[in-house]
Symmetry: C2
Subunit: 228 residues, 2 copies
Amino acid sequence: MVRTKKSPEVRSNELIDCAERLFFQHGYENTTVNDVIREAKVSKGAFYHYFVSKEALLEAVATRMAERNLKELQPLFEDPSLDAVGQLNALFAGSRRLKLDMAPQLKNTFNALFKPENVALYHRIDEALMAVSVPLVAEMLRRGHADGTLDAPDPEASALMLLQLRLSVAKVMHKALQRQEAGDLDGAAAMLDGWMRTYGTAIERFLKLPDGTIEVTEPGFARTFLEA
Amino acid sequence: MVRTKKSPEVRSNELIDCAERLFFQHGYENTTVNDVIREAKVSKGAFYHYFVSKEALLEAVATRMAERNLKELQPLFEDPSLDAVGQLNALFAGSRRLKLDMAPQLKNTFNALFKPENVALYHRIDEALMAVSVPLVAEMLRRGHADGTLDAPDPEASALMLLQLRLSVAKVMHKALQRQEAGDLDGAAAMLDGWMRTYGTAIERFLKLPDGTIEVTEPGFARTFLEA
DNA sequence: ATAAATAGACCGACGGTCGGTTTGTTTCAA
DNA sequence: TTGAAACAAACCGACCGTCGGTCTATTTAT
């Protein structure tokens, strides 16, 4: 093979790019190190020069995703014009917009992420995402608690629990997608819609907010997303 | 090897026994099929006669654990002398008793379950446990909602969310165990205690119950458990 | 000169397959 | 009633292909 030398940063990012694509396309366990180096046009030696193991590559993929996520969320959490509830709602609104914009890829991602051969992938991404999100949410809760807009005893614990709840929505979203693929669009939309509302209610009650304060979803969102 | 023939049920249960022990002892990924058949004194052929893959064996381990769990929980949920809140509290009380009784094994289990090479094991057990628990909890919420002891819109969704929350406690329990092993018993106990109380508060608020209704923990529990 | 980066042949372990053997049960003619 | 032939299920273990990972040699940049 032709020997090409690139800056370490470029090389390792190329490897992570390929890995991310292949992991989501064929699953983590179904993707071999040989697949990755073939796509990245790199030798085995080079690969193991950058990553001590296949596992380390997975770690890198998850970490980079979390970092990108953090960069997107950071500004919102630092916006001084919003109080805690405003931030939460802005978060959900942004999440909805993102979901609609990237519906096709997202559907693919969800399907991949919940396949049994991808538990490792799923788990690592969840861990990395939690690690960067908990402090942000905790800080938000702390501020909200201080200025009286919400009531959150033990912000750290509350943040983790709120984020943990988020997973249940992800699970249902996956179920809804499957149901829609099976032809039952109406049922899928109704289910997703109901669960998202329940999720909103759970947050409101947990943070002792008045009913209707949290807008996780908006009318027609579930259906629009599923149809997209 | 001497050829011994046993009834299919006995044989497959022996294999599941060995697998369960080895998976928790050395981790799922670190346990090879050869390890299992050596311990179970069975040939490769016999193994693949019963399980189509190593993955299927994992599935069987998880399913059996969930079934046993169900058998333990079932009576409590069918106890007519308890209302929904009483059942919840009985559930937590039973869980505490069990935790104290089996503290050593449980600590081992927790440590095993959260190791990176055990994500598959963890995930499968969680899935199997959820599958059997959600209907039970949902039914309980439905009854509680009907007789006015609590307020749970969409029992199915609420059940899944409540059970999802439980995972955050498991995570913290693991963190507390690590902290205690690192020598900081006081810190670990305080953390665990605080989080369990927050968990109780989360449930109360979510189900619109009066403060102090749910007793997830009791004074000194965290410390007693960690010291056991 | 030397250290980092790259190449790719190579290795051992692993999950899984396969052809064949043993054991127990059913069938049926004598 | 018996017993042998036929069959199916349980079991054995040598073997295979693949995969993650190692190692030595070579190239490149400083």
